[in-house]
């Protein structure tokens, strides 16, 4: 193992070890927050695969998150599926939705891609409202506590929830780390940096971008399905435009094109809102100012800025 590889694995495994230990040392409130943040970070990691590494700025990722959420939730609530099978179905729904959207939306690029993905997501959101008799629309549905048992573990228990979120996060982080350090990961970055040159080298940009988008959708679907199972609620607001913007903010804050950036961004954004709301009623203004400062002084996000200023080995 090279020195760089050692540093990379040490950092990421160290973060995972710290998160594993956090459950035992953090107060209940912060441990609960961290469970939620880890799930949302998986969503943001998926977004980062598309945006940060492949250069696909989607404004419709809530559709993939919603596909996972509802793919799982509808099967549990209406068809009586068990949590495990429904979780797998939710993950598959996220990937399948990304495949379907990608086949159409990847015919466009840049601003057009943003608009097309936004419109697809809006169509998905309205579809959930349209089928209110089944989905209960914007009100949403509660996933019964008895149905939230995975492999014999009751996901409504705080400790179980934390470790389930950790397991998902750890798997997502390690897979992503391996992905971005693999040859395919380098091709993804090549698409972002210079699509035409990549094409000249013999790569098919459409296939590469479609594959990246599907992986991204699988991540989003996994996060959506896990969120519903861990927190017991499936609602249309999670498929709204707000939840397409959320991972973008996490990624921009933490650092686009970095493996740990989405998690860092999710943590900081969560606590920025949480702490600011305790100080002022204008907490959204605080968030806005923080983002402006970030764009002005660290446009590549926190880890992106660190990578530029010395930690060049940061994946």
């Amino acid at each position: 193992m090279t020195g760089t590889a050692t540093k990379v694995w040490a950092l990421h495994l160290g973060v995972l070890a710290a998160l594993l230990a956090a459950q035992f040392v953090l107060p209940a409130y912060h441990a609960g927050n961290l469970a939620r943040i880890m799930v949302l970070a998986v969503y943001a990691m998926g977004f980062n695969i598309a945006f940060g590494y492949t250069g696909l700025l989607s404004l419709g990722h809530a559709l993939f998150f919603g596909a996972g959420l509802y793919g799982m939730g509808m099967l549990v609530a209406l068809a009586g599926w068990g949590a495990g099978a429904a979780l797998v179905a939710g993950i598959a729904a996220g990937g399948a939705m990304a495949l379907a959207v990608g086949l159409l939306a990847l015919r466009t690029a840049g601003v057009s891609f943003m608009i097309v993905t936004l419109m697809f997501a809006q169509a998905g959101y309205l579809t959930i409202l349209y089928y209110t008799p089944y989905t209960r629309g914007e009100e949403g549905i509660v996933i019964d506590r008895a149905a939230r048992v995975l492999l014999g573990f009751d996901l409504s228990q705080d400790i179980i929830r934390y470790f389930a979120a950790f397991a998902l996060f750890a798997a997502a982080l390690l897979v992503k780390l391996a992905l971005v350090r693999s040859p395919f990961g380098r091709v993804m970055v090549a698409m972002r940096e210079n699509e035409e040159r990549s094409r000249m080298l013999g790569y098919d940009p459409f296939r590469i971008k479609l594959a990246a988008l599907v992986v991204s959708g699988i991540y989003a679907g996994a996060a959506g399905a896990a969120y519903g199972l861990l927190f017991g609620y499936v609602g249309a607001s999670f498929a709204s435009i707000q939840y397409s913007i959320l991972p973008l903010l996490y990624v921009l804050l933490g650092g686009a094109g970095t493996v740990l950036g989405p998690f860092l961004g999710a943590v900081l954004m969560f606590y920025l809102i949480d702490l600011a709301s305790g100080i002022t009623t204008a907490h959204l203004l605080v968030v806005g100012v923080a983002l402006l400062v970030l764009v002005l002084f660290a446009p590549k996000g926190i880890l992106g800025a660190l990578r530029d200023r010395g930690l060049k080995w940061l994946p």
Binding site: P133, E138, R145, S156, S237
Partner: protein, 428 residues
């Protein structure tokens, strides 16, 4: 030897010091116990300060503060002062659940109340159940009484939409007309109205002859209005949000100055909106459901004036400080009444601290009659402990001269329906 003996003999200073130390040690538990009993009861308030529910949130906070002042002036709860921690949930179910966790795990609140919007309630209730936190909602939704929530979620401060709609149907049928066209938003809130009203009006001898579901993204309604059958006797509308102003204007343009059917709506559409606003002239002569009459009525109860003064509302339903700031008067009483129910429940349960949360829920479940009084200024109510839902009076008002004038009061029985759940048989 002597000196050693003397050394062992307690000196005056040692004795005094020892006595003082013993006294302090003996006094500690008493002082601690005293501090425990005098510690404030902490209530979390899930506030729609931002997001789509902000207009409601502003007034819910004022109402809660006013009720809190009254409760504390009267000696608090079980002799302990009460404080309310307000936390913005952004009218968002994800944040709502996070706020619940904050109240339970960080602030160690004794109970949580105040949420109005259904999606926030439904998104938060599972966490309330898991955290074993009494969660008293003010949402009107049928989700509580339908049995979809849990043992810890109750709605004792306001009737649910099914009850409200059911209570309206007999009066609409007997007074306004029997052939009804419903215009409602095509999502859960509108569907609740449709699902409750269609059988209720049939039972009252009327019928719904057309259902016009408006997609939630519509900003203009002109193309839907020709679908109103010409033999419609009553238009029943429950449009919500900013689009309601456009809806009323376009409905007015559609009928012009000619004959129009009777029009009945739910004031939810026009909460925090001045009924005499330009563009709403078409509402003159139409009827509204009101949970609590916005305009001071001639036959108002003896506690109405006290309640209005406390929450800072004038005789027209606007803020005493700013006449342009119209209240959400038809709903905000639920916050006031819920706080007094918490007080009554805690006192009945002999509530001491979070370990008694289950006793609090059981005490509220045991409640039945809630007589009219300053604790229940909207009217007398009956609580159903099995379904965790309260039943009470509904008001129908007519717009006359730009004001809402009450023309009918239903009885609690008008809004009652068979139990759909029994939470008391569920475990905690």
């Amino acid at each position: 030897m002597t000196s050693r003996l003397i050394g062992l003999t307690p000196s005056r200073r040692t004795v005094l010091g020892g006595l003082a130390a013993s006294g302090a040690a003996l006094a500690l538990p008493a002082r601690f116990a005293s501090a425990q009993s005098a510690a404030p009861i902490k209530l979390g308030f899930q506030l729609h300060r931002t997001g789509i529910g902000a207009a409601y949130g502003r007034w819910y906070e004022r109402t809660a503060q006013a009720a809190l002042t009254l409760v504390n002036e009267a000696g608090g709860i079980n002799g302990r002062p009460v404080e309310i921690l307000f936390e913005d949930d952004g009218t968002d179910p994800k944040r709502g659940a996070e706020v619940m966790e904050k109240f339970a795990s960080q602030s160690n609140c004794d109970a949580v109340f105040g949420a109005l919007f259904s999606h926030v309630v439904v998104g938060t209730a599972p966490r309330a159940g898991e955290l074993k936190m009494p969660y008293l909602v003010c949402s009107e939704g049928h989700h509580v009484a339908s049995g979809k929530m849990n043992r810890w979620t109750l709605q004792p401060g306001i009737t649910d939409v099914k009850s409200q709609v059911q209570a309206m149907a007999p009066w609409i049928s007997s007074t306004l007309g029997k052939k009804v066209t419903m215009i409602f938003p095509d999502y859960a809130f509108g569907h609740d109205h449709r699902d409750a009203f269609v059988p209720a009006i049939q039972a009252a001898g009327g019928e719904v002859i057309e259902q016009i579901a408006i997609p939630p993204t519509e900003t203009s309604f002109t193309r839907y209005l020709p679908r109103i059958p010409s033999d419609t006797e009553v238009i029943y509308h429950v449009m919500v949000g900013p689009a309601v102003l456009t809806f009323v204007k376009e409905l007015g343009e559609f009928y012009g100055s000619g004959d129009r059917p009777q029009i009945f709506g739910f004031i939810d559409s026009l909460e925090a909106v001045n009924i005499a606003s330009p563009g709403l002239e078409f509402l003159e002569g139409t009827h509204f459901w009101e949970g609590h009459c916005r305009y001071l009525q001639e036959d108002a109860g003896e506690h109405e004036a006290t309640y209005r003064a406390a929450v800072g509302v004038d005789d027209t339903g606007a803020s005493l400080a700013d006449a342009k700031d119209v209240s959400t008067y038809a709903h905000m009483f639920s916050v006031w009444e819920t706080l007094f129910i918490l007080k009554a429940g805690m006192e009945a349960a002999g509530y001491q601290g979070p370990a008694d949360r289950q006793k609090l829920v059981e005490a509220i479940e045991a409640m039945t009659d809630m007589p009219y009084g300053i604790e229940h200024p909207q009217g007398a109510k009956t609580f159903n402990g099995k379904t965790h839902q309260v039943f009470g009076l509904q008001y129908i008002s007519k717009v006359e001269g730009g004001k809402l004038v009450k023309v009918h009061t239903t009885s609690p029985e008008d809004g009652m329906y068979p139990d759909e759940a029994d939470y008391t048989s569920m475990s905690f």
